[in-house]
């Protein structure tokens, strides 16, 4: 892999038994790199155990923004190698890599030494023990920071910022241990950081970006039931909501959290809950209620590998079918998907806007990679989407809550509005909100609810489209950044044949928009991370596609890497 192919980025894996602090070290390393002008990304790779399992921080630092992992790692540091084998499939090492090991630990696994990587010894344990309160992860951090060329000052600052809550003593011990590691570096041909003008950049995870988008969109009530890998959204929102004049309530289960959100929204407060696959399954019942009773609500589903409990800490794009088709009855709703870590801000804010405007549930399909990745990126500007519900405030003599209107959206009275009293209902009802078993009432309300969602103005946000070629790649979610990078790596004569269509709006279907996007496209490749090609099958059912369609799908937990997409594209449309 040449520098050009890897975009001059620098990839580091910090590996150790869970509890050794490699994730903390990774976050501090990313923060320190950010301070001296690097963009970057870090994803944690971990087993399900809280302590004692396998754990790794996978980082990529670059002078330019990055949205996915590289194909290989320049540096692998093992604090220990006890459970390394379980993670090595995610950490490709080659003869150009440097592997750092502690002589006090058991040897480096054969599969690593066989790559021909350069081995460096670092007495992490010994150095850590020489500092009162020193820990091996900080020694590791200092050493790797030195290798990358991060100045001492940035390390000190990042440690102070990240560990401030643990007290000055812990901060001092951590800095001392890190500086010991730093002083052992021999230097390496590390990439140059960017222009150094990093002061306005953000360091943010996808889950926090989702919370930010929710707040910016106007969410002021969240119901919470913890689940990996969505919990950080809720934990971040809890204090933020309070500051913003809202609240978060912890529920007893996901059945309760979706219904609490629906109750709060019925009261007029824009509401959200966040979960992952198993929770989404439980929330499907409540989502159907929100469809029928016409209550806006946003459910963020941070997908993990399924079915059932699946692999809680690893990504997959396999809840597409559940999100799109899971509800019983004819239940029009909206499904959107952020296509990068920072896009979580925008897409979640847009989701709130759509939910409030259409009085319908919106599912946001994020995934573990997007949600738990932390990026150093340019700031996400505020946008003007803001929760705005069509309210009934001055109630006329004859008022019907579910009145059949031209755009299908019926003015909604909030409790407290005199004369607007009605009963929101999951039973089929008349326009006047009276339960009804009649075909004409049922048909009229089905039509109305379908129309309000189909006719809503989604503008150009339904997809992000790049390029003008006759070979189009259609993808969504976390796979988008991988495809983008692959396209950047290809020579112009190949790249000029390509077009990228990254769907943000998965449901409702946009047949006219898609027809325009596919105009002039003769070959289509659909890329997604699941076992059955869920998006591909959906596209076949709902859209007119070119005659030549390739489907590229494989399940998690391993994410796609740009190199393999480059190979696929070359095989598909290269010379």
């Amino acid at each position: 892999m040449t520098d050009q192919q890897s975009g001059k980025s620098f990839s580091v894996a910090l590996l150790g038994t869970g509890g050794t602090g490699v994730i903390t070290a990774g976050e501090i390393l990313l923060a320190a790199a950010a301070r001296c002008g690097f963009y970057g990304l870090m994803i944690r790779a971990a087993g399900p155990q809280i302590r004692g399992g396998e754990s790794a921080a996978l980082l990529r630092l670059s002078p330019a923004p990055v949205g996915c992992l590289d194909d290989r790692f320049d540096v692998l540091l093992g604090v220990d190698w006890k459970h390394a084998e379980r993670l090595l499939a995610d950490i490709a090492i080659d003869a150009d890599s440097i592997v750092i090991t502690d002589p006090a630990e058991e040897g480096v696994p054969q599969s690593i030494t066989a790559t021909g990587a350069t081995l460096q010894q670092l007495e992490m344990k010994e150095l850590a023990e020489s500092v009162s309160g020193g820990r091996v992860n900080m020694v590791a951090l200092g050493y790797v920071a030195g290798l990358v060329g991060i100045p001492e000052d940035a390390i000190r600052h990042a440690i102070d910022k990240e560990l401030h809550g643990k007290g000055q003593q812990a901060v001092n011990a951590s800095i001392a241990a890190a500086i010991l590691g730093f002083s052992r570096t021999q230097g390496l041909a590390a990439p140059q950081a960017g222009d150094g003008e990093s002061s306005d950049r953000w360091m943010i995870s996808g889950n926090h970006a989702t919370g930010l988008g929710a707040l910016r969109g106007g969410i002021r009530f969240a119901a919470a039931y913890p689940i990996t890998p969505a919990t950080e959204i809720l934990e971040w929102l809890a204090p933020q909501l309070k500051d913003a004049g809202g609240t978060l309530t912890q529920a007893e289960d996901e059945l309760a959290s979706i219904n609490m959100a629906i109750g709060a929204s019925y009261g007029g407060v824009p509401s959200l809950t966040a979960t992952s696959g198993p929770g989404l399954s439980l929330m499907i019942e409540g989502l159907g209620l929100a469809v029928c009773a016409e209550i806006p609500v946003v459910v963020v589903n941070v997908m993990r590998a399924g079915p059932s409990t699946g692999i809680p800490t690893k990504p997959e794009q396999s809840d597409f079918n559940a999100a799109v088709y899971g509800l019983h009855g004819d239940a029009p709703h909206i499904v959107v998907a952020p296509n990068s870590v920072t896009d979580c801000v925008y897409t979640t804010q847009w989701a709130v806007h759509i939910a409030e405007a259409t009085q319908a549930p919106v599912i946001v399909l994020s995934d573990q990679f997007i949600g738990q990745s932390i990026v150093v990126a340019d700031p996400v500007p505020a946008i003007s989407f803001f929760a705005k519900r069509k309210l009934a405030e001055n109630i006329p003599e004859v008022f019907e809550r579910y009145a059949v209107t031209a755009d299908g959206i019926s003015p909604m009275p909030l409790p407290g509005t005199p004369g607007g009293q009605y009963t929101a209902d999951g039973l089929v009802h008349t326009a006047g909100a009276i339960p009804s078993g009649r075909a004409d009432d049922h048909g009229a309300q089905l039509d109305k609810r379908a129309r309000k969602i189909a006719d809503f103005d989604y503008g150009q946000h339904w997809a992000d489209i790049d390029g003008e070629g006759e070979f189009a790649i259609l993808t969504w979610g976390s796979t988008t950044s991988v495809v983008r990078e692959a396209m950047q790596r290809l020579p112009d004569k190949v790249a000029s044949k390509l077009k990228l269509i990254a769907l943000r709006l998965l449901l409702p279907v946009r047949q006219e928009d898609m027809a325009a996007a596919l105009d002039g496209v003769n070959h289509l490749m659909v890329i997604e991370q699941n076992h059955t090609g869920q998006l591909y099958r959906f596209l076949r059912a709902w859209y007119d596609l070119p005659a030549d369609v390739d489907t590229v799908h494989r399940p998690g937990p391993g994410v796609f890497r740009p190199g393999e997409i480059v190979t696929r594209i070359n095989d598909w449309c290269g010379e």
Binding site: S198, S199, D200, R201, W202, M203, H208, L212, L215, R216, G218, R220, F221, Q240, D243, A244, G245, G246, T247, T249, A251, E252, D253, L255, A256, S257, I258, N259, M260, A261, I262, G263, A264, S265, Y266, G267, G268, V269, P270, S271, E285, G286, G288, L289, A293, V380, L414, P415, G416, P418, G419, G420, Q421, Y422, T423, A424, D425, G426, I434, P435
Partner: protein, 277 residues
Amino acid sequence: MSAAAPCKLKASDYKSGTKPVWCPGCGDFHVMASLIKAIAALALAPENIAVVSGIGCSSRIPAYLNCYGFHGVHGRALPVATGLKVARPDLTVICAGGDGDGFSIGGNHFLHACRRNVDISYVVMDNEIYGMTKGQPSPTTAPDWDTELAPGGTGISPFHPLVIALASGANFVARAFSGDVKGTTKILAEAITHPGFSFVQILSPCVTFRPDQREWKKKVHPPPVSFTTDAAQAARRVMTDDGFNIGVLYKGSRDKYAQAVELNRECEHDFHREFLV
């Protein structure tokens, strides 16, 4: 969204005019009459009351009232009511339903609603049967009650909602009988006024599938002693009585769940500040 001044309305002003689906003689008619009398006595404006329910015969009650109503899915009335009250503390939120909805499919929510102590009143019309699905055993059905679904009886102990409510932390616990409109009205008014989570079990006969419950009016009687503020004592009383003591059993003084939303959507808050490098 501020609470309106007290209003003086007639009981009929609280009815929507929609004809109930209930069978003639159903106890739920009397429960509705008592609830209307209670809210009228408290001079609450109908637009400032929300009645939330799940699924079942008794859960149809919101549509029959001229208040704001929410008829949700089976078993989930309490979470809807909880979200609504937390988001809109200015409203009077009353949750209503039956024994199947509240103690079986919604049993977990019942426990945690008692614990959470949000300021809502939960009224369960208990007829010890699933009426809407035509007579299957509910959690409060006696073990030897013969049904098609459980020939010869379920053989399992009935759920004891009052004891569970006390053990889980409900702040007001009472039992009422639908046929006693005067007494039920008084209990409901107290339940609505009492801070925190109030639970009222109303024995409400199902004359269709449990004709034996017509005898309840002869069996109910006032409690021998007044309410207590000691939950353990209340639990002992209710576990050892004949099941037909009616009246307020327990009044607690636990702080209600207080996370009032002061809705401020327009605030210029620097939500992103912590993400700056």
